[in-house]
């Protein structure tokens, strides 16, 4: 699509490797019928599609530089789920967790915050959808405030549980399903927000306290993984073989600052990446290992994810704090795991995968994840306008990353007019089969 206030029309010609050409254009938009697009992709697999674009301005046709779209041989996962929410501060209205079929434009709802809200004054927040190994028979999401609880799907059976225990600081927050066992690692957080008076980041989200727990779905039991009251542990994620739990942990504040109000010390709070081995048989964790020392280069690591083959590590890196989706300097970093031999990696010692084609300049790039085959990366980025996050994909093979592209929409205007952010995008290899109504049955009406 070309800007409607500058152009009268737009035409695009696509050429497949077999020489076939198709021309599209309606007004300033180019919309390709789904079936024809799939045929073109099929014909171009492993090769590239040539695209030529012309725009009509003041009656004159102008041509753009032609470009190629490389068509990967490895497919992307069939489904994607995300929360659609206004990039809000404290108040919110309607929100939904939705799933998108990635080979079509079909979007359906997994859950919304209206159907079981029994106390309008309190409101209801739904968040943190998570799946075991990209499948949806074992999944969860949280419901906060009105009619609260964590909705857990265990082999397709839905239940609502309360993860708060006397000995935890909160219920479960950021989740990570163990890849093979009915176990979920959560962080527990006492989260607060503060609002900038003159900063494009607008909101600062920080934890007064955060620990980690392990929830056993079978026995409904919660055990403490770490609860160092002086430091903040957050964002657990498992290695694909389930033998390690990775997480972020803050480093101690400089002397004299630890007693100050966190709203003044927040730019100094930085997180490093750690891991602990895990024994599936005993549910015991080994000693903590520092994997990536970000604080030594004045940075902060969040949201780690290990590739399905275990060879690469992704995380979001910003200057400080734990909420990089609101930090304009936040970028995605990818490190080959073979570099980690037990000695903590640092910016000086690690060699990073070149991510310039994935990251944006001056906008938040966060929430990285891998597709189930490890050939696609997904990030949530505010690069479009600085405020509304959108989903971007990038192809990955043999340590090389392709150019990130925006989640396609049937109507290119969709991304302009949608005043919602895509929050916590997660790949799935199958859709959530439980309907909104079925989920709602586990709530008090």
């Amino acid at each position: 699509m070309l800007p409607a206030d500058e152009y009268e029309a737009c035409v695009a010609r696509l050429t497949t490797p077999d020489g076939k050409q198709q021309t599209y254009g309606s007004g300033v938009k180019v919309q390709i019928p789904e079936e024809e697009w799939h045929d073109m992709l099929q014909a171009s697999k492993g090769k590239s599609l040539k695209v030529e674009v012309w725009g009509q301005k003041n009656g004159e046709w102008l041509s753009y530089n032609p470009f190629d779209i490389m068509v990967a041989e490895e497919p992307i996962d069939e489904y994607l789920s995300y929360r659609l929410i206004e990039p809000t501060y404290v108040a919110w209205t309607y929100m939904e967790i939705a799933q998108r079929h990635l080979t079509t434009f079909e979007e359906t709802q997994i859950f919304n915050n209206e159907i079981t809200m029994n106390d309008k004054e309190k409101g209801q927040c739904i968040n943190c959808h998570s799946y075991q190994n990209y499948k949806t028979d074992n999944m969860l999401f949280h419901v906060r405030l009105s009619n609260s609880g964590t909705i857990i799907v265990n082999d397709g059976k839905v239940s609502r549980v309360n993860l708060k225990r006397d000995y935890t600081i909160s219920g479960g927050v950021y989740p990570a399903w163990h890849p093979t066992e009915k176990l979920i690692a959560f962080s527990t957080n006492l989260t607060r927000q503060a609002f900038h008076t003159s900063n494009h980041n607008k909101i600062e989200v920080y934890d007064l306290a955060s620990d980690m727990i392990l929830y056993d779905v079978k026995t409904d039991s919660v055990s403490i993984v770490s609860n160092d009251s002086t430091l903040l542990e957050v964002y657990p994620t498992w290695s694909p073989d389930g033998k390690y739990l990775y997480y972020c942990k803050s480093v101690p504040l400089p002397e004299g600052m630890d007693s100050k109000d966190i709203r003044t010390t927040y730019p100094k709070i930085q997180y490093n990446l750690y891991r602990r081995s895990f024994d599936v048989a005993t549910h015991n964790f080994g000693d903590e290992e520092l994997v990536y020392d970000a604080a030594s280069s004045d940075k902060s690591v969040t949201l780690p994810r290990i590739s399905p083959d275990g060879r690469y590590l992704l995380f979001a890196l910003g200057q400080y704090g734990c909420f990089h989706s609101r930090h304009h300097d936040a970028d995605i970093v990818c490190i080959p795991m073979e570099q980690y031999t037990g000695t903590p990696l640092t910016a000086e010692t690690a060699s990073f995968v070149d991510m310039r084609l994935v990251n944006s300049d001056g906008y938040s790039d966060s929430y990285p994840s891998w597709s189930s085959n490890g050939h696609w990366m997904m990030v949530a980025s505010r690069r479009g306008d600085g405020n509304y996050s959108r989903v971007y994909f990038a192809y990955f093979k043999d340590g090389k990353v392709g150019k990130a592209f925006l989640l396609p929409q049937e109507d290119p205007e969709h991304n302009i007019f949608l005043l919602k952010s895509y929050n916590r995008p997660e790949f799935m290899i199958e859709p959530v089969k439980i309907s909104v109504d079925e989920f709602s049955k586990v709530f008090d009406k």
Binding site: T88, A194, H196, T197, D385, I416
Partner: protein, 453 residues
């Protein structure tokens, strides 16, 4: 006789128009600011695909005209009169004629509530019209076929009115008055049909006139008694603030000094905008700090005048957050033209042009904000034009230079920082001094004066 009936209906219509145009105009403005009607196929489809969506859409379409209260009053007048005329077709003349006004009066009372939505009135009218069309058909299979076809269509157009989901702003509140109006529109024709044996239609107009006077007297007084003129006054202050009618605010406050929080906040804002807050604030009712910059509450209404004050002070990020949260607090999940406008302005001032563009492009799809959106779009990215703009240029200059965290409670330090960032900011100066005066903090008042002398 028909001309007399037309005259009575016209009188009723004029009474409704005069009431909403003169006594209740700001309720109409209030309604308009809590929705955003877009001339956009996706928006229309999202509304009409719901049951009751047609009535809802018609209500929303009409409500956009409430920006101009007299146009809104005429729309309501015509709608209520149309409902009365439809009901009168079932009722006929004579003693029962006055009852044809009952559904319209009940809807009038319903609309006195600022949360009552016009879609409810449309639902009653569409239902009555459909029933009238069925009644007009000859008895027999045609009528039965029409009923079978019309019922599901009607359900899609106006149902489910019993849940009131499209007809009242609080989704979980049952609008009893709307139900009563809807019920009366069914019961009264039935009653007229049943009573036809005993009460013969009168050919003279006197009887009809008397029955009208009786109903109008009783129900008119109920309308007047239930009208919330206190809320109207509060809404008037909010409206004047949103349209930056500073002189009119002061004139209104001079006639009757406001004694509610919104009124006092707006009155102080107007005094400051005219540069006379410190000289004249003692002549008006004050409510401590709560009348200057009240703590922001989590509703859609009360934060708006405070947000206007934040904006005019140059606390742009704070104003943006306050407006954003107020819009999020709209209970039926609708958006607001007023909020979109202010969000576009604040984003323009802080240089977030692409975010401003989003709001402006949405406003381009409206009837009454389009022109403003087009004008403002041309400013995006034009630093020179923004700097020269009398409002945006000034506010950009006055805005905070130092970043710090804002809490929900405005402190004198926040105002002091604003003023020290730009000593041209006369608003910050007045608000800071007023803050000290209202809290009786003489020491800090004197310190600040001597420091900045």
């Amino acid at each position: 006789m028909s001309s007399v009936r037309s005259l009575i209906s016209s009188l009723f219509c004029v009474a409704v128009i005069l009431f909403f145009g003169m006594a209740y105009p700001h309720h109409l403005h209030y309604q308009e600011q809590f929705q955003l009607f877009l001339f956009d196929s996706n928006y229309v489809w999202d509304v009409v695909k719901q049951t009751g969506g047609v009535a809802d859409l018609l209500g929303r379409f009409c409500t956009q005209f409430f920006l101009f209260a007299w146009v809104g009053a005429v729309i309501i007048g015509l709608l209520l009169t149309a409902i009365q005329l439809l009901t009168s077709r079932f009722v006929g003349d004579g003693w029962l004629y006055g009852l044809s006004f009952v559904p319209s009066f009940l809807l009038w009372i319903f609309l006195l509530d600022e949360h009552a939505l016009l879609g409810g009135v449309w639902a009653v009218m569409i239902t009555l019209h459909a029933v009238w069309q069925i009644v007009r058909l000859p008895k027999g299979w045609q009528r039965y076929v029409a009923i079978v076809v019309l019922l599901p269509v009607l359900y899609w157009m106006v149902g489910p009115s019993w849940t009131g989901s499209h007809y009242y702003r609080y989704p979980n509140v049952a609008p009893m008055l709307l139900y009563a109006a809807w019920l009366s529109a069914i019961v009264i024709p039935l009653l007229a049909y049943v009573c036809r044996k005993w009460i013969k239609p009168s050919k003279g107009y006197v009887v009809s006139l008397c029955s009208f006077v009786l109903v109008a007297g009783v129900m008119g007084s109920i309308v007047w008694k239930n009208a919330n003129f206190k809320a109207e006054k509060v809404m008037q202050y909010d409206f004047m603030a949103s349209h930056q009618q500073w002189n009119r605010i002061i004139e209104t406050a001079n006639k009757e000094k406001p004694n509610n929080q919104i009124g006092v906040t707006v009155q102080n804002l107007a005094l400051a905008m005219r540069g006379v807050l410190l000289d004249q604030m003692q002549n008006y009712n004050q409510n401590g700090i709560a009348g200057l910059l009240p703590d922001v509450q989590s509703d859609a209404v009360s934060p708006m005048p405070t947000a206007e004050a934040f904006y005019q002070l140059g606390m742009i990020y704070v104003a943006q957050r306050t407006v954003f949260e107020a819009q999020e607090a709209i209970l039926d999940f609708q958006k607001s033209g007023r909020c979109y406008k202010r969000l576009a302005q604040t984003n323009l001032i802080i240089g977030s042009y692409e975010v401003a563009r989003k709001y402006l492009m949405a406003l381009q799809k409206t009837l009454f904000y389009r022109e403003w959106a087009n004008e403002t779009l041309s400013l995006l990215g034009d630093e020179v034009a923004i700097a020269k703009h009398p409002e945006y240029g000034r506010l950009r200059k006055w805005a905070y230079k130092d970043n710090f965290f804002f809490s929900d409670h405005v402190t004198p330090e926040m105002l002091e920082s604003l003023y020290s960032g730009c000593t041209d900011n006369s608003m910050a100066y007045q608000y800071l001094m007023a803050y000290y005066m209202l809290t009786g903090d003489r020491e800090r008042y004197n310190n600040f004066i001597s420091k900045n002398r």
